[in-house]
Symmetry: C2
């Protein structure tokens, strides 16, 4: 059962369970941090089917099984994740601009959208661009 | 901004954030426990608007402010709650039968629906009915 979902259903579900984030990774030999846009939804493993249907409806992303063997009481989860900038800008963002989020997560999505525009213009490869992106997220 | 929401959006949101429950309250002088059906959504206080819009779309229920003064670090919440059996059976249940839940919460809704049928037939006022309802929830 990987049938597609009503797009408004997905907006509602993501308003509750989704996460739009920007990460900055800086390794030793890099001049500036690598900026990455990530859209993800993490659910307990008995809710895998809905993640498959969201993936199928959005037409991108991957699903990962998360198990922490160290924590025996922790119920394994599945994570649906899109981090490819092409998929983010051509699929995820147009989808949520067409079927907008309605709860406070819409502000998180707005920042995510602004950063995606900067990344598409390669601004994240300049120090000025990195500063701008960090400021959008209230970081120094 | 209390404008109505797309009903499929609500199904998606409730699949993530909503709760359908049945409670059994037994006081000293009662022959059998009182059965109550409750539909609720609890969110942090900065998401009050979406609760108002859900209330407006479903056309029933109340919103409560939850503050626990004992826990200073706990962010106050708002709870949208429907517990009136008339509203549950004439508004909440028909809504989610028309715009079905898609994630695993649909099983919780199915049990809730079955119990509502028993309550409407006054079965919860008999010992046999109470037993039946408890069995639906895997209780002894």
């Amino acid at each position: 059962m990987n049938s597609k979902l009503n797009p408004n259903y997905i907006s509602g579900f993501v308003d509750g369970e989704g996460c739009f984030s920007v990460t900055f990774n800086k390794k030793k030999d890099m001049i500036r941090p690598e900026v990455r846009l990530i859209f993800e939804i993490e659910l307990r493993e008995d809710d895998l089917e809905i993640l498959r249907r969201i993936k199928n409806t959005l037409g991108c992303g991957n699903i990962y099984h998360l198990r922490y063997l160290r924590y025996s009481k922790w119920i394994p989860h599945y994570k649906y994740k899109v981090s490819n900038i092409k998929d983010i800008s051509e699929k995820v963002i147009p989808f949520f601009r067409k079927y907008p989020l309605q709860a406070k997560k819409k502000y998180s999505f707005e920042r995510f959208y602004i950063v995606s525009q900067l990344v598409l213009k390669k601004k994240h490869l300049t120090n000025e661009g990195i500063l701008k992106i960090r400021r959008i997220y209230g970081l120094k």
